[in-house]
Amino acid sequence: MKKYTLKRILTSLFTLLAILLVLFILMQLMPGSPFNDEKLTADMRAALYAKYGLDQPIYIQFFRYVGNMLRGDLGVSYNISKNTPISQLIQSRLPISIQIGGMAVTLGALVGLVLGIIAALKRDTIFDTIATIISVIGVSVPSYVFALALSYTFGFRLRWFPMLFSAKDVLGSSVLPSVSLSMFTMASIARFTRSEMIEVLDSDYMLLAESKGISGPALIFRHALRNALIPIITVLAPLIVDLMTGSLVVEKIFAIPGVGSLLVTAIQSNDYNVVIGLSFIYSAMYIGIMLVVDLLYGIIDPRIRLAKGDD
């Protein structure tokens, strides 16, 4: 197992490096430059290119970037927050995205699981129908519509929660964004849990457990859920990454200083370092979560663990 983990981590690092290279090439393909404000003269632009080393061949830029990165230096922003180290931007913004995304994931996954389990257990009853309707609506309505409607109702009309994110009331002001973000996760998890649970519930080992007399929560959590969990985790993993790395729409509506809107702004203003830095964080999280998921598989399902371990 240890050896496998190590090997897996190494492959992941290699993949990350590949992603970094691809990102670099993509940036190179990006039309325009970070410095094409109307007021800039060509000389000025050349000076800026020289200042940031953008005038050098891409491979030199790449190796320099990788070298710097190993020292924790992700470069500085060119224009959206001039000369600010990317690491500083990420440090201040990522935790907020992770926190709100984390709340959304937790909420969505928990509610989704409960809905899905109920739907599966009470298959073809009114509960099933209600759970299905909720989950279908969850995947059918765009999150910005949810966000604005929530903000209008609970923020503006009822004043239960703040409408805008505030560092002074992080928890309270994260409620509405988390809820609107969690809808899609909740809906997909609910649907998935339902179908997986149905499959598991029909399996022989569930019959055996039932024939032992096990019933109620023990049956569901000890036997059914654990076995249904692998595919659910597989679906959940990319959602986690997406949510934790911020959502432009929700960040825009709730004025959240997260990384989602930062990325969009950076792309639109050709701020290469920010794009690369944030994309890289995204990639690292993606690869990391995939790694965790892979290792989790092993923990949940001993078959996978022992097949992979070299013992």
Binding site: K51, S81, F156, A255
Partner: protein, 543 residues
Amino acid sequence: LTACGGSGSTAASTAASTGASSAAGTAAGGTLNIMLETEVQSLDPQIATDGTSFEVIADYTDGLMQMDADGAAVPALAETYDISEDGKTYTFHLRDAKWSNGDAVTAADFVFGWQRAVDPANASEYSYMLSDIGQVVNAAEIIAGEKPVTDLGVTAVDDKTLEVQLNVPVSYFLSLMYFPTFYPVNEAFFNTCKDTFGTSPDTVLSNGAFILTDYQPAATAFELTKNPDYYDAANIALDGLAYQVIKDSQQALMSFQTGALDLTLLNGEQVDQVKDDPQFTSVGAGYLWYISPNIDAVPELANENLRKAMTFALDRDAITGDVLKDGSAPCYTAVPPQFATGPDGSDFSADQTKFADSCAFDAAKAAEYYETAKSELGKDSFSFDMIVDADDAPQKVAQVVKEQLETTLPGLTVNLTVEPKKQRVQDMQDGNFQLGLTRWGPDYADPMTYLGMWVTGNSNNYGLWSDAEYDSIIEECTTGDLCTDPEGRWAALYDAEAIVLEQAVIFPLYGQCNAEMISSAVTGVEFHPVALNRVYKRAAKNA
């Protein structure tokens, strides 16, 4: 102060003008909650380029001069100044002011700041303010790397005296002084933070009305509190400023309505909702929006009659009144009104009818020119692509423009290509466009900030239009004899503007105004189209 077209103009002027008097008198304090559309890009005065950053830097830093409520330059850190006979030497005498670390503000701080602005190592984007626009001696050479920064024509005669040498007399030089590019930087303090300068309350020094107390780069919320050591602290009514970046205008309005904001921007659609509200106002943003035809690369657009037909086909009133609704006013001049005041104290473009004959909407004239153009070009259908920023307002305007051109000039088709702004600018600079919807904001309070664009070879002359007569007029006005003859220069500039409009080098559309809500509790916020868009020094908020 700017009056803007549309319903909010009166409200704006009341809000602003009443402020000046009431602020000093009443002890009204409180924190002003201000909405920003975008994050601050930089708090380094020599690196910042955008309005938001300028506004915030100016909140806590004063320059040599500042704007009064009407936008005229009045002394700030310079208690007095002298201008030499030839207009090429400015001597500023500083008042006793302190940095927030207790150091005195000295002439050396200005020298250091200005040298940073031209130091090629810093690659300051606004260095041209010192060179091309400010004409400070040796600035251009230093930027080009030909001379050391110490050669810059600015010297600290003593702690309190700063002397500036110019290449030519620059009539608007004093008004440049409120650009943060010309702000002082305390060298000793700067050396303690270096790379982190301007990234947190600990790495900025204040010498202005407020002190930055809570800030992170690209923060969406940050705060400033009143500076007790400010030389004019007695006249600062506010306890502080709280900024909040909100990118969604509906959330902003709702926040305003709940009282969380005192000052917020609206989008045009929301104006219907608030137009009867006394808190609604519309303030000038200084931008002129216009369409630039690519005269050089598109043969049809090289035809002056076709261009004239197009400019006559544009109904600016409909654009501003029916679609934008934020108070933006139609513009029939190449230099927008309300920022450049002439020798006689009048607004350069106050009279919008002057060139209306050459561009204002007139379907009949449009048709007439269109017919001529068609026969000259031997074609009767035209199709142009127009590149447009992927932002809300430009897309709105473009859709109306397209519709107007197509209905008034049958046979003409306009296809809209929406691009992110950077991309659009790049395309226009590369001449890779047919029609482009673009805008220009003034850099200083002189018509030249606009008229200078259309000389042959200027990088902002996207259409590569070229006219010898025009070039010579502009030449005269910048470095020629007219430099020292304000009245003559003024008249010559009108001649130049007439050429631009008569040849339909650009199709001016409107002067941008912003629709804003200002809480009725707030007075004395000043709005300016140039340099610093909003100034809060004289604002007050009644509890």
